[in-house]
Amino acid sequence: MNKERKIFLIVAAVLIVGSFLITTHMENRFYYKAAYVVLQYVVLATAWNILGGYTGYVNFGTAAFFAMGAYTAVALIKTWKPPLYVLLVTGGLVSGLLGLGIGYLTLRLRGVFFSIATLALAVVLQMIVSNWDYVGGGAGTAVLKPRSVPMFSNYDEFLFFVMAALAVVSVAIAWLIEKSWIGRGMAAIRDNEEAAECMGVPILKLKLFATTVSGALMGIAGAPFSYFVVYIEPTSAFHLDYAVNSLAMPMIGGTTTWLGPLVGAVLVGTAQQIATVTLSSEMNLLIVGSLLVGFVVFAPDGLVGLFGKVRARFAGKEA
């Protein structure tokens, strides 16, 4: 167990340092933009999976938590333009609190009713933000990113590095949860909530923990968004793409482990970026849609589950 933890920490550190080294060697800004989007989905898919995959509550409101982080940052930038880490922390706090509150209000709802409530949350919040003139209202607002940042040649490279670090950290959090007593309790809730409670699992506490952590990570992912897009408006920040993608990626990768959303986000996210450039920007949702249908029908346990099955079959043949 301890050895496993060490290896995980080393790999995480290598990835963070590696993404920094890339910025000192590579020039083409498009790749940073594309990689940022993919990494952002690694965070979102991993966050979604903590509630959706581990605990079994399907959240259709990813966009709400993501945009909450983004708009918290916009409000802060408009007032006193704090450094990025302050935006990340407050974005995470606000969305985490939102997750806690929504969890408290809606976790009595099971199955599809919970999902509908989260979808409604996104709609309501979008209406509120659209009417909040301070952050640009429905028309949106331009956000000036800092002109320079130490150690990086431009701000896009810096944002790429930040998102890479966030991706590593959120995958590490998911991994820690999965391997701990909290993760085992969540799995029991997902499998059978009533039995879990009768076996001593404090289901309300664990579910609130899941909605809070999941919401906070989504908010953190959204905090740098306005710097990334430069012009932020509600339709793009609350776009349904976030909800659909962050649900489809874990489904395609596999929902029961930390690896699933990571694999799903990297594969689908990259495919979308390639499709956007080579085919058209509208094609990427079609890709996600067909992949999702295909996986739900043919590989309900996702790529990770599929891989496990294939490996088991080969092991069986050898024996």
Partner: protein, 241 residues
């Protein structure tokens, strides 16, 4: 009264206008083998749900081991020592049999002193249930009787003082019923108090020291198995007037 492990005082449970339980009293002594019977829909499972905390009773008081547990959530009741099995097995389907047992061991019996000892303890319980060979099987690969046994094993893993077995034997063959009876008797000999809810009269009559009969949400009889068999009210409840 004080030596009772479980005291249910005047518990009433309503679903809308329908009264599933009406002022029912139950008193279960420490180390007792207690039977709860009644026709379908008489409120047996509702009673269990109120005791285990899955439902909140509208009136009355439930006292377990000298402590009023009427208001505390189900998971804390399990930690205090009330464990139940479900009539329709509710296994944790993504886990192996052994992992199913580790949940109550970790959450109820030890409360987060994790490690490899848990698996060892889970193995011991599985051996007691003669299910050790199924330890690494996923629950989807189990037969009905194995699922019933898993329900009991998982309840045992919570290290309870009181085990409530909700129709663990329905639909099983005679030999299988005897298997489960033997396990329950052995657990009782080791000090466990057992409430058995059962439709199989042969099982519940031979197992129980004392029986309470529910009908339409009310207690209509209480006594030893012999007294219950000869009770006119019970006969009427089951067979009609």
């Amino acid at each position: 009264m004080s030596e009772n492990l479980l005291d249910v005082h005047g518990v009433t449970k309503r679903f809308g206008g329908f009264s599933a339980l009406t002022r029912v009293d139950l008193h279960v002594k420490e180390h007792e083998r207690f039977g709860l019977i009644g026709p379908n829909g008489s409120g047996k499972t509702t009673m269990i749900n109120c005791i285990s905390g899955a439902l909140a009773n509208d009136e009355g008081k439930i006292v377990f081991a000298g402590r009023d547990i009427t208001k505390i959530p189900a998971y804390q009741r399990t930690r205090l020592g009330v464990a139940r099995s479900f009539q329709i097995p509710k296994p944790f389907v993504s886990m192996t049999v052994l992992e199913n047992l580790c949940i109550p061991l970790e959450y109820a019996a030890h409360q987060h002193s994790h490690g490899m000892e848990l698996r060892g303890e889970a193995m011991e319980i599985l051996e007691l249930m003669s299910m050790a060979d199924k330890a690494d099987v996923r629950t989807s690969g189990l037969t009905q009787i194995e699922l019933r046994k898993l329900e009991l094993a998982r309840a045992m893993a919570a290290k309870p003082k009181l085990l409530i077995s909700d129709e663990a034997m329905a639909g099983l063959s005679n030999a299988e019923v005897d298997d489960i009876l033997e396990i329950l008797v052995r657990l009782n000999e080791e000090g466990l108090t057992v409430i058995m809810i059962e439709h199989i009269m042969r099982a519940v009559m031979s197992f129980s020291e004392r029986i309470v009969v529910l009908d339409a949400g009310e207690k209509i009889a209480e006594g030893t198995p012999d007294e219950i068999v000869n009770n006119k009210d019970v006969e009427r409840a089951y067979l009609g007037a």
